[in-house]
Each structure stands twice: as C-alpha cells, then as structure tokens.
Amino acid sequence: MTVETHQTEPWSVLDTSGHLRPDERVPSGDSALDLRRAYRDMVLARRVDAEAIALQRQGELGLWPSMLGQEGAQVGAGSALRPQDVVFPTYREHAVAWCFGVDPVQLLGLFRGTTMGGWDPRERNFNLYTLVIGAQTLHGVGYAMGIVRDGDVGTGDPERDRAVLVFLGDGALSEGETNEAFVWAAAQQLPVVFFCQNNQWAISAPFSVQSRIPAAERARGFGFPGVRVDGNDVIACHAATQEALATARAGGGPTLIEAVTYRRNPHTTSDDDLRYRSGSENDEWEGRDPIDRLRLLLTGDDAPERLDDDFLAELAQEEQALAERLRTGCRALPVPSPEDPFLHTLEQMPADLARQRDEHLAFVAAGEGDHA
C-alpha cells in the first residue's frame, strides 16, 4: 500500500521553457550565479557521469551510481560553497565534487576497486563518499561543532566564517541517524545545511514509502527552517543554498533544503528500474531537464548572458578532452599494493597484524594466489 503525499509546489524561478521569473530571493551582483559557468559545470559533470557508465559497461568499473537529471540541484548547491566550507556527500554527488574541484578521475577509484576512498578529504574539504545511508549527516554535525569551537562562525569575516553542507537523499530521511543529526543541529544551532535531493526513488521505494509530507516540512518539527525548491532549477537551488549557507556561517543555525528532482537512471548500473517504475515517468522528467532549460534561457531573446557559438564550441572540445582524460585516467588508476590495508588499519602496525601481513605477502610473492 502506498499513501498519497501532500504536494506543495517547490520554489522555482526558471521554468521548463527557459523563462526566468524575476524573484527578489535570487541574488544579484557579486553573489549571483554565473550562469554560463553553471551551464558548463552541468554539461561537464553530466559527461563525467556518462563516461563512468560507459566505463562500467566496458568492465573498467564494478559499479556506478548515476546522477543523470540531478545536475541542477548539485551544481546549484555546489556553486554556493566557499572554499573554506566543508562538504559531506553521499555517493552520488559527482557534480558537487566537480564544482568543489575534486578531480573526477579520483571519483572512479572507489567504483573501480582500486581504493576504498579515492582522495584526501582535507585537500578540498570534500569528504569521502559515504555508502551507509545517513551516516554522514552526523559527521557533518560534529564537524560543525568543531567550527563553532574554533570560533569560525558569526565573525562577519567572509574569508573566515564557515559552514558544513551535508548531502542526503530522500531515503536517508527515514534513517535514525539522520533524525539524530537534525536534533543535534537544531539544539546547538550549528552551522550546517542539510541538502536533501529528493530524487523520488530510494532504489525501488518511492518517496511515499518514506514520508507522508514533503521533506522540507519535517524541519519545522526539529526547530529549523525547511525550504522546498525545484531541484531541476539550478538558479533556485543556488539561491536557496547560498542563503542557507550564509545564515549558517553567520551563526543563524541549520536549514533543510529539499531539492525536488528525479533520478533518471537506475539506482546504479546493477539496478533494473523498469521492474518498479514506468518509462513514461522518466520521459516526463526528461522534459524538465535542468541543462535544457538553462540552455533555452541562455540562447533566448532575453538571455542575461549568452551561450554564443564560440562558448559552445569550446565547451564541446572541453567535453571531449574530459572524456578522454577520464578513459585514460581510469585505466591508469594505481592498483594498491597488497601491503596497503595492513599499513592503514592502525597508525602503527601491531605485532600480530605484522605477522599476518608477512604471511600474506609471502603467499602473494609465491604466486599461489594466481590459481584461485
């Protein structure tokens, strides 16, 4: 049995025909979204996703969780970040990683089986992908507690004040840990923004399995604001995230953003979504594509910035080069040494583990594993 959810229209400024509705909540001037850059980011991130799927089909990756259709939400949120902010992603934030400067080749290692992580989270303040649903929400809360104790909140210094941006999906709303994170963030008024991409499906479970009300409405029960935004409208997603992050950095506490979007591909390359949903639903959402609508705006008569032929030609070249770099980079990802897991279990390898390592390395060196 499924129950009907109440539907309130998410906030949107850019409609599917590329018409931009003026709205005072959309920032202007220096804090406005760079629309041509957002377009470029969405196109290139989508290419990363498409190449990764192709690499999986060629056997180069074991698995890939596609984010097709969610570029508007992710680039909108990702482009609202400042370098000192900290991101706690799920495992599908490929476009956020792109916006925050993580090399997309590094995203592939986890799915190729060359690493359990893939990048140094401290280099870009972009934490490792978290596969256990909702677990990262509490890490974001703890990090935000650290920011408060460091005094890096509410100083008014734009170079200093920091916030945490935690990503989660609609399925994670049902996890106990997510709800604990909401309680903690509210009680301590922490500088954290929870960005929920409600892509309608938690593998095969529709949103109605998780909630009778829109996700954003839950925030009020915890004691902080919730915002429901059109996740395929990159301008609205950017505006909502920028405002929430500014509030958080200023010491105004947490916000939950529900970006209403759609996962157009199966959950991962191992999933078969036609077993639980119809293709027509997908077609419907394809009509709300975040990249198409921005292109319509930026090539229309009243475009605030214009995608001219030179820009598009350059972007096409950039896309080709990126695709080539991903294909080459994926195959060149270093395979770790058999000793690596032993080295990084504890800071100093204990004697009993060193014995196991020696036994394993001797076994590997003898080549006995070749016949396994």
Binding site: L128, M145, W184, H344, P350, D352
Partner: protein
C-alpha cells in the same frame, strides 16, 4: 596515594584536557551530574560546557558527531552510559569510525575514545551488565583497552586520548570504587602491552578487567596447595599482546583464560587459538576457558553463580592439573 579507579579516570581526563585544549568530552548526563558513575565529576565546572558536552539522548549521535569533531581536529572522548546502550552506536563505530583511516589511505586519523562501563556483579537490571568486548575486538581498525587497577585506569586513559587510533575504553564498573596507588608521574607500560601481575611457574591465568583481582586471589589460594600460578592482565584486548602470553605458557605449560563475556567466539577462544598455534609443544594440558555462559546475561539474583568466580577458576586449575 590510594585512589578509586573512577577518580583515577577523572584525573586522566582532567590532565588530558589541561594538556591539550582539543580534548573534549561528550556524552549523556556528563555535565553537572558528572555522569551516572560520576567519572566526569567537576569537569564541566572547570572546563565549561563547550568542552564537557551534555549530549542529546542518542548514542549514534554521540559517536557520529565525535567522528566529525575528530575530522575537524578535535580529540573527543565519548561516554556511553552503560554497556548495553552502545549498540545504537555500533553502525557509526564499525562502518565509519573503524574504517576511516583505511578509507583515506592513512590521510585522516580519527582520535576518538569511547568510554563504556562494562560487566556485571553490581545487581543491575537488564542491559546494565554486558560484556561486549568481542564485538569490538573483532573489528579491525579499533583498539580495545580494559584497565583493572586505578594506576592502569589513569595511564591507559591518558594513552588512549593521546593515541591517533579510535579506542574503545572498557571500564569495569564493579571496580570503579576499588582503590589502588596511583603515581601520575611514572612511565606507563606501552599501550598494547599485557602486564604480569603475579609471576608463577606452573600455570598461566590470563584475564582482564574486574576479574584480575579474582585471579590474583585464585593464585594466592592455589599457592597454599603448592601450585604457582602466573596471572597476566591483558589490558589491551585488541591488539592482543600474545608474545607475553606465549612466553609465559612456554614456561608453565598450562593456560586458563577467564572472562565475564560469553564463551563462544570470545577473547578466550582467540587467545587459545594463538597459544596452540605458537606454543603447541609446550602445552601439558588442554587450554581451559572460564567464562560467562552462552546465554543472555541472567537476572541479577543469578549472576553470582553465572559469573566466573574464585571457585570456578580454582576448579579449572584442578582440572588442568589432572593432565
């Protein structure tokens, strides 16, 4: 100076917080109340609520936020109120805390200490007398410590807080008010080294936590019958200092392992396996485990007979010498 084990823990927390302002405490009721066992007594007053954080009631939140704090450069010490209440935090401990160093290929350390009062013998109601150590010892990426004396409580907790690995710190709750001498200036044993608390020649008795004093009494009783028992306090339950145990068994030829936790797949099984592997030809008798049974922890009116006791250990000693 004679000090209760709980007070030695309090001193270790205080000294660590004074030495490093990144050390902070987080747990339920640990502020003004000082925790249900009063281990954090007075610390909120002296260090403030930002460093002695009374948390919302949620164990996953305590450990999950401690992970985030550690990522932000802090050294959080969590208090879980009772052994039976750590399980809501197990996801954070096992899937996140224990794996992050490995996942980040050594780039990120998570210096989180999780203090847990453990064990029975205090007449408590259910979920308040558990011995969950094997779950943690079975999880790569964690250290598991268990002091038995006030001196080791002080030393090991300070070492745990200074250590860059996640540490599960098990506090034998029925020993909280047992007193012992504490020298805060002495150089402690290494964090992962077992201690020979009573040397002996005829049989090795390995245990930890609240059973160490019982084991020492058993050794004294056996000595009256002419049997010389060497008592080893494991202290570090993971990693296990098997070198100290094996060296002892090579001299004595006999081994008993005692713990309150259930028998199957417990620490005793692991120690027995390692000793038969490394000292097979030294053994004069089968290795005997004296443990809690493979049942849920019983109602407290039954716990006296269920727990490993002086008599059960001496009975095992007798059995060992029949070979």
């Amino acid at each position: 100076m004679s000090t209760a084990l709980a007070h030695a823990l309090n001193a270790a927390l205080r000294d660590s917080m004074e030495a490093d302002d990144k050390v902070l405490l987080i747990g339920e009721d640990i502020g003004e109340l000082g925790g249900v066992f009063r281990v954090t007594d007075g610390l909120a007053k002296d260090f403030g609520e930002d460093r002695v954080v009374t948390s919302p009631l949620g164990e996953a939140g305590i450990v999950g936020s401690a992970i985030g704090l550690a990522m932000a450069g802090y050294r959080p010490v969590c208090e879980i109120q009772f052994d039976g209440f750590v399980f809501p935090a197990m996801n954070q401990i096992i899937t996140q805390l224990a794996k992050y160093r490995h996942r980040s290929e050594g780039a990120v350390s998570l210096p989180v200490v999780i203090r847990i009062p453990v064990g029975g013998g205090i007449g408590a109601i259910e979920h308040h007398s558990e011995s969950p150590e094997a779950y943690f010892a079975h999880t790569p990426g964690l250290r598991v410590l268990c002091p038995s004396s006030a001196q080791d409580a002080y030393d090991l907790l300070g070492q745990a807080i200074g250590c860059n690995d996640p540490v599960i710190f098990l506090e034998p709750k029925r020993s909280y008010w047992a007193k012992g001498d504490v020298d805060t200036t002495a150089t402690p044993l290494p964090i992962d080294q077992a201690r020979v608390v009573r040397p002996g020649a005829d049989l090795t008795l390995v245990t930890y936590g609240a059973l160490v004093p019982t084991a020492v009494k058993a050794a004294a009783a056996a000595a009256e019958e002419g049997r010389s028992i060497e008592v080893i306090d494991l202290r570090s339950l993971s990693p296990i200092d098997d070198a100290t145990i094996v060296a002892s068994v090579e001299r004595t030829g006999r081994l008993i392992v005692a713990h309150e936790a259930s028998q199957t797949a417990g620490l005793g099984s692991e120690i027995a396996a390692r000793v038969q592997d490394q000292a097979f030809y030294s053994l004069e008798a089968p290795i005997i485990r004296v443990t809690g049974y493979d049942t849920p922890y019983p109602a407290s009116r039954l716990e006296h007979d269920w727990l490993p006791s002086l008599d059960r250990i001496l009975d095992a000693v007798d059995r060992s010498f029949t070979y």
